[in-house]
């Protein structure tokens, strides 16, 4: 059974180690925070100058000066820090953030990422997407395994404009969890009720399947 967005977020949350510094992109990635207990002391970084986001602001307590990168009103937890934009991106580009979780249109076999522009789209927006993946220690992509038209999103080469080359480490989809290795994408885990054959068929490039999973 393909995972729902909430289930994908929950699955990712399980892999975030306690005490990690994590940047969550807009969309499904922001759901990840809700599945990480505060006691784990995962420190959430927001590109607009916050470390230590504690969760959404309770209704009625929204502060227009306290929003995340997706313009959601948030609260901060003890230990939080505010800083300016150059420092914020220094943390990302300079390699201090452990994990960035973000969405994607496509990922290539070598780990190229396309997540900022679709061909022929209108006004182009890039935001912090390219900067975030430039130095963060691990890039984790979360996306549906195929597009709405059923076309694979994991491909030999991206056909959409690139965000960056060779940055993606791990891919979480509704069907599976994959790791990008020097030999290309490798299957780590299959979603409950989904078969290896389904995952292979939905992937547009050769997938390494470890022996232990081949029997699944």
């Amino acid at each position: 059974m393909a995972l729902t967005k909430a289930q994908m977020a929950q699955r990712i949350a399980r892999d975030v180690p306690p005490g990690a510094y994590v940047n969550l992109g807009v969309g499904i990635p922001t759901l990840v925070a809700g599945y990480i207990p505060p006691e784990a002391e995962v420190v959430f970084h927001s590109e607009n100058g916050i470390l230590g986001i504690g969760g959404p602001a309770p209704p009625g307590e929204e502060d227009p000066d306290l929003v995340d990168a997706g313009k959601n009103a948030v609260i901060v937890r003890p230990g939080a820090a505010f800083f300016h934009h150059a420092d914020s991106f220094a943390m990302l580009r300079g390699g201090r953030v452990d994990i960035a979780v973000l969405g994607a249109y496509q990922v290539s076999a070598a780990g190229d990422l396309a997540n900022w522009k679709v061909p022929g789209g209108g006004v182009p927006n890039v935001g912090g997407a390219m900067d975030i993946v430039a130095g963060v220690k691990q890039v984790w992509v979360v996306m549906t395994h195929t597009g709405p038209d059923g076309r694979p999103k994991i491909l030999p080469e991206c056909t959409y404009p690139l965000t960056a080359k060779r940055v993606v480490r791990r891919i979480y989809t509704d069907l599976a969890v994959l790791e990008v290795t020097p030999a290309g994408p490798a299957l780590i885990e299959v979603s409950p009720g989904v078969t290896v054959a389904q995952v292979v068929a939905a992937t547009g490039t050769a997938l390494t399947v470890p022996e232990a999973l081949q029997r699944a």
Binding site: V67, D68, H85, A86, F89, N125, V126, D131
Partner: protein, 224 residues
């Protein structure tokens, strides 16, 4: 005696010339100098180059400038969030140019501009379409793009508290681009929620030293 406090928003932007480059602080509404940009709309300067994270929302303040065809060029990272119909319409009609800059590069180009540097080398954008036209420099086996400094004729910033020397303290995530834009403006204008006596801001708590600030105008908060 140093006194950077000006009496009105109109006075704060009175001398913005046609063709000026304007740096505009703020991110997702936080730290956004709304009243200063409204004053600029009233002031009438045109052929402006605007540097900000976005390109306006709705049809007021920044978007009003674009709608009135007073902006010839926008330098930003995210011109089209929800509600940015004015920029989209004017861009597609060829009325305004866009220089799209990754957000972190935008921040660092501003810092470089304010810091008197000739440029920065960043790995961001290498191998993508945003590398087009830019020089690639190889250092220690890694490719970087040479990105040029950004400076403004005017920087319009928003802070929480100031004194008459122009020292600024920001509030929460209202900080964002404001400090680096304050550095990179030839004339930096800050609108603030409160002005305090000289010495009331402890030296270690100053976020932007007043040396970077030229004018301070008080705009107490109202519910919007």
């Amino acid at each position: 005696m140093i006194n950077k406090i000006v009496g009105s928003l109109a006075e704060a932007v009175r001398d913005v010339p046609n063709g000026a480059t304007i740096l505009l602080g703020g991110f997702a509404g936080a730290g956004y100098p709304m009243e200063l940009i409204d004053a600029l709309v009233d002031q009438g300067a045109r052929d402006l180059t605007m540097v900000a994270n976005h390109a306006g929302r709705g049809d007021t303040d920044y978007a009003a400038l674009i709608l009135q065809k007073r902006v010839k060029r926008v330098v930003c990272s995210f011109p089209g969030p929800q509600g940015s119909w004015v920029f989209q319409k004017m861009y597609e009609a060829g009325e305004v140019e866009l220089e799209l800059v990754p957000q972190g590069t935008l921040a660092e180009r501003l810092r470089a501009g304010g810091a008197g540097l000739g440029g920065i080398l960043t790995p961001v954008g290498v191998g993508t379409e945003l590398a087009a036209g830019k020089q690639v420099v190889r250092v220690d086996g890694r490719d970087y793009l040479l990105e040029l400094p950004l400076r403004g004729d005017f920087a319009l910033v928003r802070a929480h508290r100031a004194d008459r020397w122009g020292n600024l303290v920001y509030r929460k995530a209202g900080r964002n681009f404001n400090p680096v834009m304050a550095m990179a403006g030839r004339v930096t204008v800050a609108q603030v929620d409160e002005i305090v006596e000289l010495g009331a801001i402890p030296a270690e708590d100053v976020h932007t030293p007043g040396i970077f600030v030229d004018r301070v105008v008080l705009t107490p908060r109202q519910a919007r």
